[in-house]
């Protein structure tokens, strides 16, 4: 049953050194505020899972929180490279980063299988690519009816899933809408979970009969963090701050400018700082 806590308390309760953590968000609803809190709490030796590690994972990697990354596309969408990720892979700064590399289809299927309580996923994939040569977690299974060889990968079963959503109700049920990504699957696949939300409402009120809702009893912790997805977006609340994504390319290119930015904007700030972004963006969008 979901417990409603502050973000700092939730991260302290759910995320420990050495955990495997999936902070998901497919462009939309990326849990930036929660990522910052993990950095502030100084977590180490994390294995991070994500289809599209972007700015927040670049920050976690650059701050030395991460031992290993499981992923399928690591870039700054529409902009270019993740410089901290590249620096870790190419130069081992701040330390060596292990990687387990998949395709999007594989990652989506691995979350789906995790949510479904299966040990592995099968799909038609990885044909003719070099990825199976560098990733021992890609195997083959034969269909017992047709003889077709399908790709098999282990299900994702993270210790912790962290997502951002639009709304929770007082009982701790979570409602998402728009680009859904793999967030529902990540939470259902994980042992523990944190959901940050734009707002906690008394009741969701009138909604689609098939609204995307994660019931309270599937959730670990809920924290109200308005603006918590910034510079990503929250459909219905504020748009994506594309300018910041472009700006990140400059900030993260050099180690010094990166560290300076992190000090000012993360280490010396609190989750409350995100609320200002939310308000600013909401006004700008109106």
């Amino acid at each position: 049953m979901a417990r409603i806590l502050s973000l700092a308390e939730a991260v302290k309760s759910a995320v420990h050194d050495g955990d495997t953590v999936a902070m998901e968000g497919f462009t939309h609803l990326i849990p930036h505020a929660a990522g910052h809190e993990i950095i502030r709490q100084g977590r180490k030796h994390l294995t991070l899972i994500r289809m599209t590690p972007d700015l927040i994972y670049d920050q976690l990697i650059g701050m030395g929180c991460v031992d290993k990354l499981v992923f399928s596309w690591g870039g700054n969408p529409g902009v270019g490279s993740l410089h901290r990720f590249r620096d870790a892979v190419e130069n081992g700064w701040p330390h060596k980063l292990g990687i387990e590399e998949h395709s999007h289809a594989a990652m989506a299927n691995a979350y789906e299988a995790g949510a479904a309580g299966l040990p592995c996923a099968i799909f038609r994939g990885y044909i003719g690519t070099d990825l199976p040569k560098v990733n021992p977690n890609i195997k083959r299974v034969k269909c017992p009816f047709t003889g077709e060889e399908l790709a098999a990968i282990p299900a994702h079963r993270p210790d912790v899933a962290i997502i951002h959503a639009q709304r929770a109700d007082k009982a701790g049920n979570i409602m998402l809408e728009g680009v859904l990504g793999v967030q529902k699957e990540a939470v259902l696949a994980a042992k523990r979970s944190i959901v940050t939300v734009e707002e906690i409402v008394d009741d969701f009120g009138p909604r689609s009969l098939n609204a995307v809702i994660l019931p309270s009893w599937t959730i670990g912790y809920v924290a109200e963090v308005p603006g918590g997805a910034f510079p990503s977006y929250a459909q219905g609340y504020y748009p994506r701050n594309n300018a910041f994504y472009k700006e990140w390319d400059n900030i993260a290119r050099e180690r010094d400018s990166f560290l300076a930015w992190m000090k000012t904007n993360v280490l010396e700030k609190s989750p409350g700082a995100f609320a200002a972004h939310a308000r600013k963006m909401r006004t700008a969008a109106e």
């Binding site: 497919f26 462009t27 939309h28 289809m51 599209t52 992923f71 399928s72 596309w73 690591g74 870039g75 969408p77 529409g78 902009v79 490279s81 993740l82 990720f85 590249r86 892979v89 190419e90 590399e101 998949h102 395709s103 999007h104 289809a105 989506a108 299927n109 979350y111 789906e112 799909f123 038609r124 994939g125 990885y126 044909i127 003719g128 690519t129 070099d130 990825l131 560098v134 077709e148 060889e149 728009g178 680009v179 859904l180 990504g181 793999v182 529902k184 699957e185 977006y233 459909q235 748009p239 994506r240 701050n241 594309n242 300018a243 910041f244 994504y245 700008a284 969008a285």
Partner: protein, 257 residues
């Protein structure tokens, strides 16, 4: 004839390849510009799908990311990412997949993973994303890439997504029933696979481009079809629609910042 840039010729040539009845899996960047140009000009009924789950989307501006709110708001509906990859891509419901890459070889295999050795890369690229399965599950593949010796290479550092494999019937022997890359559109020319060898072969050269220029920007010996056409230059209307789209995009992305 209007003045235009090679990039514009490339985007417009790619757009022309899309038909009204196509269902197109669109990536960010030039594929997105080409697909939306097609939709806003000769193929208003073309169905655009982005891997973020947005089905039949009709953005008025180009998205910076593959999951921008604009794509969701203008879509028929939006499904989860697992559903997108299972029911829509693997389910065989996409006729055209648009791909690009950092490196391509003459059989249109693509590398978006690393430059240099995998374990000690010179450049760590973003990785495959959707490409490995887009390459095998879409009915056919269009590739858009600007030409250059560093990108059009004799041997890929890493095969991220398969094209015609080692040529001939080697793709089919992998068990694939889809066509693979049927068009490669560059800033200099249009390539199609040779019916027998499957080597990507120039079928049309953009106006003002020479065979020498094409060879200088290609890391293998370029082959030409028996009949090579000249690509019709962009029409005034095509350029206008494309430039309007880019201008609208710049305006909105500026505002949102």
């Amino acid at each position: 004839m209007a003045d235009y840039k090679p990039n514009e010729m490339m985007t417009i040539a790619a757009a022309r390849a899309l038909k009204n009845e196509d269902v197109c899996f669109v990536g960010i960047g030039m594929p997105s510009a080409a697909a939306n140009l097609a939709r806003l000009s000769h193929a208003p009924g073309v169905t655009l799908i982005y891997e973020s789950g947005t089905l039949a989307t009709k953005p008025t501006v180009l998205p910076l990311s593959i999951g921008d709110g604009e794509l969701c708001e203008t879509a028929l509906t939006t499904v989860s990412v697992p559903e997108m990859f299972r029911y829509w891509l693997q389910g065989g419901r996409i006729s055209i997949g648009f791909l690009g890459g950092a490196q391509i070889d003459k059989f249109a295999n693509l590398n978006t993973t690393v430059v240099g050795p995998y374990d000690k890369p010179k450049v760590r690229l973003p990785g495959g994303g959707g490409a490995p399965e887009i390459a095998i599950s879409c009915g056919e593949i269009f590739i858009i890439m600007a030409q250059g010796k560093r990108s059009f290479v004799d041997k890929l550092d890493f095969v991220t997504s398969v094209g015609h494999a080692q040529g001939g019937d080697s793709r089919a022997k992998l068990g694939l029933k889809t066509k693979g890359p049927t068009r490669l559109i560059t800033d200099l020319a249009m390539f199609e696979p040779d019916p027998e060898t499957k080597e990507m072969t120039v079928v049309s050269i953009h106006p003002g481009v020479t065979r020498e220029q094409i060879q200088e920007n290609t890391g293998w010996k370029v082959r030409y079809a028996a009949k090579v056409a000249e690509t019709p230059p962009p029409t005034a209307r095509e350029l206008e629609v494309l430039r309007d789209l880019h201008a609208r995009t710049a305006r909105v992305q500026g505002e949102a910042a």
